[in-house]
């Protein structure tokens, strides 16, 4: 039976396989420092004695210096950035992280923390010779309180592994994203990852109960409480959520896991235009209420390129726009009654042209798989410029047609998809090959437009290496100044993830 079912499963695994094939066959991306014309700051240079010291702190096999071993840590997964690190350290404990940072701070050696390396803004790979501090071995689950739902674990736990673990105890992780099979919870928190179910379970600033983090000088900040309420002093944990490893390195996490929904359904619909998507969203919110857990959209190009490039089947016919809707509830009969009423109404009204709905786990997985793989689908056709912006819902889709017009034939595809429920759209611009010309047509134009519409130039991907010089489109000078002061206070030597997040003064 297992053999016969393999093709079913292969659909799901396909994406990972494709990825590996690509890694093996492509040439190395250009060095980030050359591509983006960055100057190295005056950090210390790693010497043999430093490597020897690290070998006394960690066992020898956890200190990588061979070029081939280090290479994967230097390149991000969309092959946009390449650093020049010569040293990767793999600590197993908070104490080891602390010892390493204390030493680096004294010697002014720059450090680039790295989780699953699934970031999209080059935040997780070095730019020059920063020491890569990989959390890959800090992957232990410490405790789970089944009643409160508080999970405590180390930063290097892979999101999907955590989700599988808490599911055994009738809980789920409060976030879910396409990269779940590789991304680390520490990285999720450092980047304040959003993902597919933010609509229902909220932002990490709400679900993270506590963190343990190490400051640049090696001081361990223990805010690892698993309390829902704790108004004692400043809420320091929030400094580490979304600061992308520039203020401190998250080593342990306490996170609130909601109850595993007993009834889950997924619908996938064809919709005529974006205006109708907004109407459908409003109707879904009022008809489905508390059971609505995701409301995602994708335009025709997003889906058709995923179907074509990754050979993932589209369960319905061709439509201008698609909506993926998910419900999480505690009673199948109740949910299905609600959902049926909603679907009947909106089929009648014409907001839904056609579609499908299912509660079979395998089928739901196939539909989600189509949605989650949009992010990687364009890679096969060339180079992707990826933008992740928040916009007021009225203007949510405005930029896609604007960019199509602006780039004309220079782009092979411009498509938009994302989390309508959170006002967050991902815009991908696929060009046959990276070119300065395409880049200058896009940037800063797109950020100016976002700023005019009062949106955010980075909704959930962060600022990383790629966007510090655009951050002012979303934050004013006083806010940026306070950020610089915080950085100065917590990392006076600037060794933590340099060249990232904040612009050069």
């Amino acid at each position: 039976m297992i053999n016969s079912l393999t093709p079913f499963v292969t659909y799901i695994k396909n994406f990972k396989i494709l990825n590996q094939v690509r890694c093996a066959s492509q040439v190395l991306p250009q060095l980030s420092s050359e591509k983006y014309n960055v100057k190295r700051k005056s950090f210390g240079i790693i010497e043999a004695s430093d490597v020897d010291y690290f070998k006394t702190v960690l066992s020898e096999d956890r200190v990588l210096t061979d070029d081939n071993d280090v290479l994967p840590f230097n390149i991000d997964w969309i092959k946009n950035c390449r650093g020049q690190s010569k040293l990767v350290l793999k600590p197993k404990t908070t104490q080891e992280v602390s010892t390493i940072l204390k030493y680096c701070n004294q010697k002014r050696l720059a450090v680039c923390p790295q989780g699953g390396n699934t970031g999209l803004v080059g935040g997780s790979v070095p730019v020059f010779d920063e020491i890569v501090l990989s959390f890959i071995l800090m992957n232990k689950i410490i405790s789970l309180d089944e009643i409160s739902g508080a999970l405590i674990c180390e930063a290097g736990c892979i999101l999907e592994n955590l989700d599988n673990y808490v599911r055994e105890h009738n809980l789920i992780m409060p976030l879910d994203l396409g990269a779940k099979g590789s991304c680390h919870i520490g990285g999720n928190i450092s980047t304040n990852a959003g993902g597919l179910r933010l609509l229902r379970y909220g932002n990490l600033h709400g679900s993270v109960l506590g963190v343990e983090a190490v400051k640049a000088d090696g001081t361990v900040i223990d805010c690892l409480k698993s309390l829902k309420k704790d108004n004692t002093g400043y809420h320091l944990k929030h400094l580490f959520i979304g600061s992308e490893g520039t203020l401190g390195l998250v080593t342990k996490v306490a996170i609130h896991c909601p109850a595993l929904p007993k009834a889950v359904s997924v619908g996938f619909f064809g919709v005529e235009n974006f205006e109708n998507i907004l109407r459908l969203y409003a109707s879904a919110k009022s008809s489905l209420g508390e059971i609505l857990s995701a409301f995602e959209m994708a335009d025709n190009d997003s889906i058709s390129s995923t179907v074509k490039n990754l050979k993932i089947p589209n369960p319905i016919s061709d439509y201008p726009f698609y909506v993926l809707l998910e419900t999480h509830g505690s009673d199948e009969t109740h949910d299905s009654e609600k959902l049926t009423r909603f679907l009947e109404k909106e089929m009648e009204s014409g907001l839904i042209i056609d579609g499908t709905v299912t509660s079979d786990p395998a089928k739901m997985q196939t539909i989600w798989n189509l949605r989650e793989n949009i992010a990687g689908a364009g890679l096969i056709e060339g180079y992707i410029f990826k933008y992740d912006v928040s916009l007021p819902l009225r203007s949510y889709y405005n930029l896609v047609p604007l960019l199509r017009q602006r780039l004309g034939t220079k782009a092979s595809r411009v498509y938009g998809y994302g989390h309508v429920g959170d006002g967050n759209i991902h815009i991908n611009v696929v060009v046959p090959k990276y070119s300065q010309e395409a880049s200058s047509l896009l940037e800063p134009y797109i950020f100016e437009e976002v700023s005019k519409l009062k949106g955010s130039i980075s909704a959930e991907h962060g600022v990383g290496f790629r966007k510090p010089h655009f951050i002012h489109y979303s934050k004013d000078a006083n806010a940026l100044q306070l950020m610089q002061q915080l950085k100065q206070l917590m990392d006076p030597n600037g060794i933590l993830n340099p060249y990232k997040v904040l612009p050069e003064i």
Binding site: L5, K262, I316, L343, D354, D360
Partner: protein
């Protein structure tokens, strides 16, 4: 035109992790998500395609099992079956129900409903028996085309391509016949919303095995259901020599 009877079984969804009951009497099914056996979905798809090609006049879906099997039948109706028959079998009786019982039910229904073609999945992914099609054909004394990866209608009957070890076998049968669907026969469709709505109103008849004169007395007794052995952890060896030494030590080379 032919009338097609399709057997559909409600099984634990293949994406769900199976857990053995602590008393080893079976697997945990309470509160576990079930769906249609994937091979039966292929069978339904094939029957519906026959109808769309005007080779079949009517598609009847049949399921034997507890009340929830009606959900599986509604799925078949949403995919395009015209009507459904639910043979209600519940509790202890269902736990020991075997392919022979299902085959007897399908054979009797085929006669009652004047079916010309019976299509079932080649096996169910829960008990992996792979017997129902063969037994049904034997009981009816009809030809059988098992493990079908292609079914074509010809003037005199059917041409069926079968997946066999190391290749494909093409056979011709007369109608009536029994077919079992293999994985590559087709890719089942997703039921569309209008069809899901329509399916709620299609006729679904409830019957018992007794109505059909089929005795469900168990011929087997489940002694124990065990988890597969846990895979042992691997280890990393420093060099080829150690690897060879280890392999020799384990008697592999």
């Amino acid at each position: 035109m032919a009338r097609v009877l399709v057997g559909v079984k409600r099984v634990i969804d293949y994406a769900v992790k199976i857990r053995v009951k602590p008393d080893k009497s079976g697997v945990v099914t309470d509160g576990v998500k079930h769906s249609m056996n994937p091979f039966d979905e292929i069978a339904v798809e094939e029957a519906v395609r026959m109808k769309e090609k005007k080779l079949a006049s009517e598609v009847i879906a049949v399921s034997c099992g507890p009340a929830q099997s009606q959900e599986t039948l509604r799925t078949a109706l949403a995919m395009g079956a015209d009507r459904a028959i639910h043979i209600e079998v519940a509790g202890a009786e269902y736990e020991t129900m075997q392919p022979i019982h299902v085959a007897k039910i399908l054979a009797k229904l085929s006669k009652d409903e004047k079916a010309d073609i019976v299509i079932v999945g080649k096996q169910a992914i829960d008990d992996d028996s792979n017997q129902t099609a063969q037994m049904t054909a034997a009981l009816l004394d009809w030809p059988q085309g098992t493990f079908a990866s292609k079914v074509e209608k010809t003037d005199s009957g059917l041409t069926i391509t079968r997946e066999i070890d190391g290749g494909l076998e093409t056979i011709k049968t007369k109608i009536p016949a029994v077919i079992s669907a293999d994985l590559r026969l087709n890719e089942p469709r997703y039921a569309t919303l209008p069809n899901i709505m329509k399916a709620k109103k299609k006729p679904l008849k409830k019957m018992t095995a007794k109505d059909l004169g089929v005795d469900l007395t168990s011929r087997i007794k489940i002694i124990s259901v065990e988890d597969p052995p846990v895979r042992q952890a691997g280890s990393i060896v420093p060099d080829v020599d150690t690897l060879i030494a280890k392999l020799k030590e384990g008697g592999h080379i």
